[in-house]
Point group: C2
Chain length 260, copies 2
DNA sequence: TTGGGTATGTGATGAGCATCACTATTCAGC
DNA sequence: GCTGAATAGTGATGCTCATCACATACCCAA
């Protein structure tokens, strides 16, 4: 039973930016209440009973992240916590053998991140970075497993989340293998559209570099495609922010490839 | 509580082969005992208590599969059972929007298959086909979830299995995106090597077509690469069977790509 | 044994996209 | 506001690999 929970950040950050570790105190009962109140209705943590949730929160650490802060480094051996995102956006990425960055996902609030390493206790295979200022809960392994395995509802929730991820990855493999650039980028954009809004805004405004690493194509071609789509009115740009105007078209492209 | 368990096979088989449905009776106590005895030491089902296991088996259906028999069809709506492979080998694959087959995995005995659809209750996104004569247990959704969620050990086991799969898929995305043909094929072969033997035999002898669909390259190039590797002594062929002679080399290639 | 289906071997061709090279633009920090 | 760094736009080039087009080998069943 540990009451405080220390995070050690090691290794090299992706951007080799200076790393500022902001260790919050552990969430006390007060903040626990606050957090409970702000949990989204569809939150995974809602599956827990109030008592379980309170216990879990009491053992968790809350972290405020600035843009660029690194929560987890690929290669870290001390993979002893999972991350529950309260607000903001995280990037999950790794560096391939060839030295190129591959972005696996962007996570939105109320999503669980980094639980894979808890389950098979290997080193971290991906890095987790805040791409906008974010708030996150760090759940220690023991508490996480204990809580999850005593709550049938949350067990199914976590398994469901893992299942969703497997499906998602199957789709990525499909588009990587059989789709041309356009549909691949379309799929990336569709995944980035903020589901909580209806105006086609993204959960985060990626650079073309990031979009390329996410969709699996060269930055230059991201540029070319975006220009083309903008001229066709499929997307719009406000400054550097992207707006998806014709989501339906992009979804078709993402699902059926070039032969829509 | 249902005691018998009916499987409906619908849709079009991948090879459009005639489909023979062999419905076994449900496993009775006798066969349950037999099955328990033959479970591998590392089996997921070993996490269950003898009573739980017996209950699970009593509600399961045992299926004997001939080569080519289809257990699950991509698109099936009645995704209400998972598959536990007792012996043989299964192919998990789907047909992409472009009409090409993508092989996600080959599963070896004691592996769980098809549990994704149980968790998020969508249609089946992949097909499962026996590639050699096989024995499998079909576990109905309700029983599966009930058993799993009442056994903390097996919960963790199933989550671990899902986690393993996510990791595996991350690697596939990596090699698809950044590796050239050689390393991609190497990774496919490494995944196919039978871990229960030490002579470099594969768990199943795929056609070059299948190898291509598994590794993500054209059949013709599979042929070219295999010939090259054979002449270098990295692999050998006995008739149509492949033998991995220099597993270490292939593993290096699979891990680091061309720049080993 | 023969023939048709399936699996394999191998060259030639070209499409798709990464890469390079460079310019133009935007942004953050002093 | 200024300056260097990061981001973005765009043409030219060439490499990798899918595709096409065959030839060949193999297997099983009539």
């Amino acid at each position: 039973m540990l009451d405080t929970f220390e995070i050690r950040l090691s290794g090299v950050t992706l951007e080799s930016a200076d790393l500022v570790v902001v260790l919050g105190g552990n969430a006390n009962m007060d903040t626990a209440k606050t957090i409970i109140d702000t949990l989204a209705p569809d939150s995974l943590l809602r599956a827990l009973s109030p008592e379980q949730l309170e216990r879990l929160l009491a053992k968790s650490t809350r972290r405020s992240l600035k843009k660029g802060d690194v929560l987890i480094n690929q290669g870290d051996e001390d993979g002893d916590f999972a991350v529950y995102l309260l607000s903001g956006a995280l990037k999950i990425s790794f560096v391939s053998a060839g030295g190129r960055e591959i972005i696996l996902n962007y996570s939105a609030p109320n999503e669980l991140v980094g639980e894979i390493a808890l389950l098979d206790s290997g080193p971290r295979t991906a890095s987790v970075t805040a791409v906008v200022p974010s708030e996150a809960l760090l759940l220690p392994t023991s508490t996480f497993l204990e809580t999850v395995s005593t709550s049938p509802a949350s067990v199914v929730g976590v398994m469901r989340e893992l299942a969703r991820r497997v499906r998602q990855l199957n789709l990525v493999v499909e588009s990587d293998r059989t789709f041309s650039m356009g549909p691949r980028l379309a799929r990336a954009l569709v995944r980035l559209v903020d589901q909580n809004r209806d105006d086609g805004q993204l959960i985060y405004n990626p650079s073309q570099n990031d979009l390329g690493a996410f969709a699996g194509l060269a930055r230059e071609n991201v540029s070319r495609l975006l220009s083309e789509w903008e001229s066709q009115g499929i997307i719009a740009r406000e400054g550097r922010a992207l707006l998806v105007r014709d989501a339906e078209y992009l979804e078709l492209l993402a699902e059926f490839g070039d032969d829509i």
